[in-house]
Symmetry: C2
Subunit: 327 residues, 2 copies
Amino acid sequence: MDTILVAGGAGFIGSHLCRALSDAGHRVICLDNLQTARPSNLKLLEDLPNFTFVEADIVNALPASVTDAPNLTRIYNCACAASPPQYQADPEHTMLTNVVGTNHLLRLAEKTGARFLLTSTSEVYGDPEVHPQVEGYRGWVSCTGPRACYDEGKRAAEAMTFDFARMSRAEVRVARIFNTYGPHMHPDDGRVVSNLICQALTGRDITVHGDGTQTRSFCYVSDMVRGLMALMESDIDGTEPVNIGNPDEFTINELLDMVLELVPNAGKVVNTPLPQDDPRRRRPDISRARDVLDWSPRVPLSEGLPMTAEWFAEEVGAEMSVREAAE
Amino acid sequence: MDTILVAGGAGFIGSHLCRALSDAGHRVICLDNLQTARPSNLKLLEDLPNFTFVEADIVNALPASVTDAPNLTRIYNCACAASPPQYQADPEHTMLTNVVGTNHLLRLAEKTGARFLLTSTSEVYGDPEVHPQVEGYRGWVSCTGPRACYDEGKRAAEAMTFDFARMSRAEVRVARIFNTYGPHMHPDDGRVVSNLICQALTGRDITVHGDGTQTRSFCYVSDMVRGLMALMESDIDGTEPVNIGNPDEFTINELLDMVLELVPNAGKVVNTPLPQDDPRRRRPDISRARDVLDWSPRVPLSEGLPMTAEWFAEEVGAEMSVREAAE
């Protein structure tokens, strides 16, 4: 039986990935510093067969339980706080997680021969002038602003990952993941889907940054996990990043309307100032993923949003019930 | 007497900076791993009063001789190989020098209260679509290519530096330095001024990348050092980078003609393919430096190039003499 390491495996996407890899018959080591992970995510994983949780921070030297794992064949790096309030709380740590943490995992890949996958981000495109975003677009990123610790950290992590490939030190894959949502998100992670749903469910004011005409595209987490696994197992040239996301584009106001329809007794909507360097538009061009991975998303927002709201309703203990996901 | 730390102080710009700071009456610690430094640069410094050389790599924990230095008031970070052949030889180390090395120096600044200056680079603009480059331009940088270890490393270093300022952890200054030339360059550093002069002096083929119509602007090293010191001592808001460079723009062919006029018996010119991601144009907008630092370059290429060629002629032991700099 081979072993797969998932750094950040107790996080939102990481926990879904751990489960899917376990279901596919692999031994899974989940490495996480529990910085932003929800303890309940971990509880859902702990009973999986051949599952090990290791609490450690990839910024530090990796523990022997990880470096000495038998038959390590794959390393997924999903480790980094991904929502602005979380990654801006300790920007130094965010940068080091991306650069030093990725370096530690790449060196482990080099030592063991395991293939390495970096979950990079659509944030490498910054506030894009090209729409939708293709992988060849170099981005419009401020390297001096408050989002730079994450955006530039991921760009630096990509640079280092591709250098390991160019030097034949490791087999690598780089996914640029776009907005993802679904069960197991942190209710307080500050991202728009969780924000709107949780605010609606708890009757608080619903905050919309700016006038709500900025757009995002939302990928349901099961599609994302399927995409990451397809990329990891693909034969794609390891020096090319691949966008993974859902190209259906919605304004924040459209998303809000869908949430309000699911949660009828929500509070009032309050428009707040746009955060600095907030992107106006964001939508992946997934031609490469379609061509090379034969992957495309299957779950539209109209299906994924009710499933997510159901889960949040249970999670935050909201008394009001959301419309059935199966409707 | 206060102490000033110059990381990378045995390098090209660093060695000139050490001398200028010593001449201005400071105790100077030169920290260098001697990766690309010329030993002769160090010999020129060793007899300066109150000068200390410490051989260490900023990627590792800083030695006590640095961290315990008395009355440390300023830290200049000039440490990183800056020419593509040098920084691409070990891209992992280039990235770590910029991110981990800068982090170590910033933490020292935080601990001691010393002001920190990062020598960033015009490379953060990549292959620019905006000309000349203003500090607000976000750049056109490939984060996947062979120059990314340097370009993205510097962008990440800037991000981290500005985060230390935003969190009030350190007083910072960030200079984006453009092509600089002068005595003490490494003859083999692979940059265009040293390449053309040394090839001409030694009668080898003179290699010009592409058709030579790409442009660069060249700052004489004394102007650069004066600019860095002015920026360090200025009251500029520490969350803004400042371009330091010479805005006089030349095509590589124009530079070549000037070199050929200085070195009459040079070999033949050979055009070679443009390196990947080589910028087509590069010229600083120095309005901010003029306004805030009251700085602008004083040495035109027509004066600086003969002084540089004279020095190289002595350095490489070329028998042919160059035209007198004072002509």
